[in-house]
Structures are given as C-alpha cells and as structure tokens.
Amino acid sequence: MLHLALFSIFGAICVAGAVNVLIQRHPINSALSLIAVLASLAVEYLLLGAEFLAAVQVIVYAGAIMVLFVFTIMLLNAGEEERTRGSRVAIVFGIPGMLVGGILVAWALLRYSGTGPVSVGVLPGPPNTIAQLLFHDFLLPFEVTSLLILIAIMGAVVLARGEETPRPATKEQG
C-alpha cells in the first residue's frame, strides 16, 4: 500500500515535470523541471530495489549532465523561444492520433501484460552485486565504454574550442 502511494506521488511529479518541460518557453525553466523529473525517477528506481542506479541517477544525471545543460544555457544567453506556427495537418491528425495510440497502448499493457506485481526488496541491487556483473560478465563492454568517454571528451574539446585562425580569412574563402 505504501509502495503504491509512493509510486503514485512520485509518478505524478514525474509526469507533471515532463509536461512542464514541454509547456515552458524559457529553456532554463525546462531544465529545472527536467531535474525534478530525474530526481523523482531516482525515487522510482529506489522503489524497484535498484539502490546503486538511484544514486547514479542523482549524481550523474541530475548532477553532472544537468549542470552541463544549465551551464550551456547560461553561456549562450538563451532567451525565450519564438513561437512558430505548426502545420494544420499535425494539429488535425497528430493530436487525436497520439491520444488514440496512447490509450490503446495503455489499455493493452494493463489488460494483456500477463505480468505479476513488482515488490520492494525482491531484487538485490546493491553496488557489490552490480560490480560483480559489471567487472566480470560485462568487462569488455565496460572497457569499450571508457574508450567512448575518451572520444567524447576529445570531441567536446575540439568542437567547443573554436577555430584558431582569424575569422575574416575563413570568410573570404567561403
């Protein structure tokens, strides 16, 4: 019962934050409500027994990645986005189609999922079990991941550094 109540409260926060990301016009407001979504998702992970993932979600996602986002928004001095008119076809067909599709998927999941309930603490997800899997069964993907991060760091530095040659020279060529 408590589990269901916690799921409902934080699920509602999650959905409200996700809708707020869409509604807000200023990117900084969207970023802040995205942080609320990520933090409440961490609570959902905790309810599912994934303690390590909940911690990583808060530290990496709500911490590191969102700081990067907020920093970029501040750096580029992003203002409110201009409203552009969407096409009529999207409004006439898209929104009803999305509603029908969503209701169909939800109905099918609730009716035919054929899966039992998920209970707290059934699955041990503490860091030592995860580490056993990560450093034993998934050792090669883990190492490949480190390579990916190295490439991402170098790519980010090269892209964000900008050109070293003076601007007018490149403009004359183009």
Binding site: H3, L4, G11, V15, A18, V21, L22, S30, A31, L34, V37, E44, Y45, L48, G49, A50, F52, L53, V56, V60, Y61, A64, I65, L68, F69, T72, L75, L76, A78, E81, E82, R83, T84, A90, M98, A106, L109, L110, S113, T115, G116, P117, V118, L123, G125, I130, L133, L134, D137, L148, I149, I151, A152, I153, G155, A156, V157, L159, A160, G162
Partner: protein, 100 residues
C-alpha cells in the same frame, strides 16, 4: 505491490512527452532535453523489467545507457556551442544549411 504495467505506462508517458517535445519545440537546447527525457523513459522500463524477472543485467544496461547519455550530452552541447558561434541563433527553423 505495484503491477509492472503501471511502471510501463509511466515510462510510455515519459517517452511520449520526449517525442512530443522533440517535434514541437524550436529551441535546440530544449530539443536536446527532450532526448534525455526519452532515454529516461526507456531506463525506467529497463529497471522495471529487471525487478520483475530478477535479472540484474537490466540494471547494468541502464548503467550503459547513462554513460552513453553523458557522452552524448557532452558532444551535443559542444556542437550547439559551435553552431551558435557561427549562426548566432538557437532556433532550429533558422538552421537550414548544413554548411556552417
């Protein structure tokens, strides 16, 4: 006790919000945040399935998704900064040339 389908419906709602934001938003940073929203929706369904079938591998997959999302955010935001430097705009409607 919460049925698995509730978690799946929540993750579907998050993914749908991400797709909608990707399509209707005009600011490139907000579009990027919508992608993060989609990734989180998928992560939630991974964790829910892992808890249902007692498979810890699902959680390891979420870990890898987070790593890829972090790398993607770093490179993507660097690209946004580079684009802003040449175009002086963040509106995707005004970015209609591949040539910088």
């Amino acid at each position: 006790m919460v049925p698995l389908s509730y978690y799946l419906v929540l993750s579907g709602i998050l993914f749908a919000c991400g797709v909608t934001g990707f399509l209707i938003k005009r600011n490139i940073i907000t579009i990027f945040m919508s992608i993060e929203l989609m990734l989180n929706g998928v992560n939630l369904s991974f964790v829910a399935f892992a808890a249902r079938w007692h498979a810890l591998r699902g959680q390891v997959f979420v870990f890898f998704v987070m790593v890829v999302a972090a790398a993607e955010a770093a490179v993507g935001l660097a690209i946004i900064i580079a684009v802003y430097r040449t175009r002086e705009t963040l509106n995707v409607d005004q970015m209609n040339l591949l040539k910088l």
